[in-house]
């Protein structure tokens, strides 16, 4: 039986086609969350027998998707299931997505013990990073590569994305080095993430999920600010994979 897991995120739509009988991943895909793509989602995704939905748009695809009653599950549960499948020995997950950051703790059996989400504010999410890179006139991968070169990361303290932008513009005007500003932006993101993680003791590398995990060298920057993370080539697809896995026993 072919099961499709579809993760409708705020920035991108991911899917995984999973064969239940052989526990094999048959296909994966990704595209931007645009109105146009959402309209023709049925033409884009591969044929399936059953479908599981997760992500921000999980409740609103019924008018587009003519599938028989899709299973709808929150992305937190899906990430846990998907991560368990790709990295069974990882018990701490960090999903830095388009508009939110999630930290999930699993027990030895893969069950969620606790999870936290940023609330009230999107500073420190993937979207924040994208916007900041844009101000520096850099693509997101270039931004990471430049930040790695910094020896003296700038301080960016604003609680708010727009104010952080003003701060960065001030830094540009005061001729701070572009690599220091870039590293400062990463530092502020990682410090926010650490606030989310709180006092949880972690003696392993955290599995990084979400769009950020596709950036080369991102783990070096995390390590620099005392957060050890690792990535998996399927890191970005754990939500979609988990949505498919919720339909298996």
């Amino acid at each position: 039986m072919k099961i499709l897991g579809l993760d409708i995120g705020s920035r991108s739509i991911k899917w995984i086609l999973y064969e239940a009988s052989s526990s094999c991943l048959l296909e994966k895909g990704i595209l931007d969350s645009t109105p146009h793509n959402l309209e023709r989602i049925e033409e884009i995704i591969p044929p399936f027998d059953k479908i599981g939905l997760t992500g921000y748009g999980r409740h609103n695809l019924n008018n587009v998707l003519r599938a028989e009653s899709p299973k709808i599950v929150s992305e937190i549960t899906c990430h846990a299931k998907g991560a368990r499948f790709i990295e069974p020995n990882c018990h701490h997950l960090l999903d830095i997505g388009g508009q939110d950051t999630k930290f999930i703790i699993l027990d030895a059996s893969g069950k969620i013990i606790d999870f936290k989400l940023n609330d009230r504010c999107s500073a420190g999410t993937g979207r924040y990073l994208e916007n900041m890179a844009k101000i520096l006139d850099l693509g997101i991968q270039d931004f990471i590569n430049i930040a790695i070169r910094s020896e003296k990361p700038s301080n960016i303290n604003s609680m708010c994305t727009v104010f952080a932008e003003s701060e960065i513009i001030s830094l540009i005007h005061s001729r701070e080095k572009i690599e220091d500003i870039s590293a400062g932006i990463m530092k502020s993101l990682i410090f926010r993430t650490k606030a989310l993680i709180g006092t949880n003791k972690i003696d392993e590398k955290i599995l990084l999920l979400g769009g950020l995990s596709e950036l080369e060298n991102i783990e070096i920057l995390f390590e620099r600010f005392d957060l050890k993370v690792k990535k998996n080539e399927l890191s970005r697809y754990t939500g979609a994979l988990g949505a498919a896995l919720t339909l298996t026993n």
Partner: protein, 421 residues
């Protein structure tokens, strides 16, 4: 029969703004209450009260002003018994609508709890007939935000402030007893009403009856499945803050009886998870969290907050009371000993209450709900989290205001919490 527009004009209501406020309510009410299955006939009274929220009850209060004062409050520490004994009507002033927040933000800081911002906004915008009808507002020095809000209110409406201890010590109890006595003396003088032993006793019995009725209703929620949804129970409690006490008590008892019968009629367990909600107060029309929880597949079976068990959990004792002084002391003791508000330090009583409620109501998890910028409840969440962990009760913390901008986020978190219980 006075028509509403004429009544609003007499109260100085800003009619256009009021129309905008009232325009949003039916849709919200439909979404939260009318789109679900409902088999309790006794709820129709409470639904009709909300449907006419700025109508019939306001008229009654205006008529009451010929007999005695209408007094507003924002907190369940303000003893209703004393107001009733002075021939008054106590109205818990709702400040649960997002509509009022921007008005409030013109006067007070943005990073203040929405309840205070909405309260000030409701008065300042002249769009709440309850705020317009009151002769006096009784404030209480609980949290910092409210303490300072009374000073702002005092420019718009007559204020009387009760002082509160921060600690439930001997000294704290004494302070509160004095404050209760002072309130009694103040009301007698201010409204030329003498409060006697008999009038106080009568008032105590009325409020005790109201509390007993709510207790009886809540008792039925201990059953699996609960005969009444959490959002409906919340609505019933919220209405208790401003409805006519005797009529309300009768209606709650009738509804409780119907719930008791429903339990006996042997309906099947639905397998839904049972949630305790605790934290800041939830005032009309703030039904947000209950709505999200209950449309995500779980039932809210009990609320440990000021619009839940703290409002009615214990009665004022009338045993061995032979003087007015005895009754006043019993009143002050009931309030200070039984309401475990986060403005106290330490506040161990609340931890015990939550654990007991979780056990009695067979709760699968706790959703700790704090209004944004509600410092006392946000900080106290850490202690409750520890206690919940020690007792292996899953808990999640939510911080939210009255707007609907975070509904997507909330739904994700609450669904995930329920999926993993």
């Amino acid at each position: 029969m006075m028509d509403n527009t004429k009544m609003y004009k007499s109260l100085g209501i800003d009619l256009d703004a009021h129309d905008t406020l009232m325009g949003a309510l039916p849709e919200l009410f439909k979404e939260c209450f009318l789109n679900k299955e409902q088999d309790l006939k006794g709820l129709s009274y409470f639904y009709s009260v909300v449907a006419d929220i700025h109508g019939a009850r306001v008229k009654e209060l205006i008529e009451h002003k010929n007999k005695g004062p209408v007094i507003g409050s924002f907190c369940i520490y303000v003893p209703e018994e004393i107001i009733l004994a002075a021939c008054g009507q106590l109205v818990g002033l709702c400040a649960g609508a997002d509509f009022w927040v921007p008005y409030g933000e013109q006067i007070v800081p943005k990073n203040l709890c929405p309840l205070i911002k909405a309260g000030i906004g409701a008065k300042y915008s002249r769009t709440c007939p309850y705020f317009q009808v009151v002769d006096l507002l009784i404030g209480e020095n609980t949290c910092d935000g409210k303490k300072k809000a009374w000073e702002i209110f005092s420019d718009m409406v007559e204020m009387y402030v009760m002082d509160m201890p921060n600690k439930k010590s001997e000294l704290g109890l004494k302070l509160w007893q004095e404050e209760v006595k002072n309130l009694c003396n103040f009301l007698e003088k201010k409204f030329s009403k003498s409060i006697s032993f008999d009038s106080l006793l009568d008032a105590i019995q009325k409020v005790n009856a109201k509390r007993s009725a709510l207790n009886r209703l809540y008792e039925t929620r201990k059953n699996s499945p609960t005969p009444i949804s959490g959002i409906d129970a919340l609505l019933v409690t919220q209405i208790g803050f401003y409805d006519d006490i005797e009529r309300y008590t009768k209606m709650v008892n009738a509804l409780a009886q119907e719930c008791e019968e429903k339990v006996l009629s042997n309906f099947k367990n639905n397998g839904r998870k049972r949630i305790l909600v605790t934290g800041s107060p939830m005032v009309v029309p703030n039904w947000k969290i209950h709505h999200v929880i209950e449309t995500s597949g779980a039932d809210v079976v009990v609320e440990e907050n000021c619009t839940g068990t703290r409002y009615f959990k214990d009665n004022v004792s009338i045993e061995n009371a032979s003087s007015k002084g005895d009754l006043l002391k019993n009143i002050s003791d009931r309030y200070i000993n039984n309401i475990n508000c986060a403005c106290f330090s330490p506040n161990r009583g609340r931890e015990e209450d939550i654990l007991k409620l979780c056990k009695d109501y067979k709760c699968d998890g706790i959703v700790y709900v704090s209004l944004s910028f509600c410092t006392t409840y946000m900080v106290e969440a850490e202690r409750i989290r520890k206690v919940a962990k020690e007792n292996s009760i899953p808990m999640m913390t939510v911080e939210s205001d009255y707007s609907f901008s975070d509904l997507g986020q909330l739904r994700t978190r609450i669904e995930a919490f329920i999926e993993n219980l």
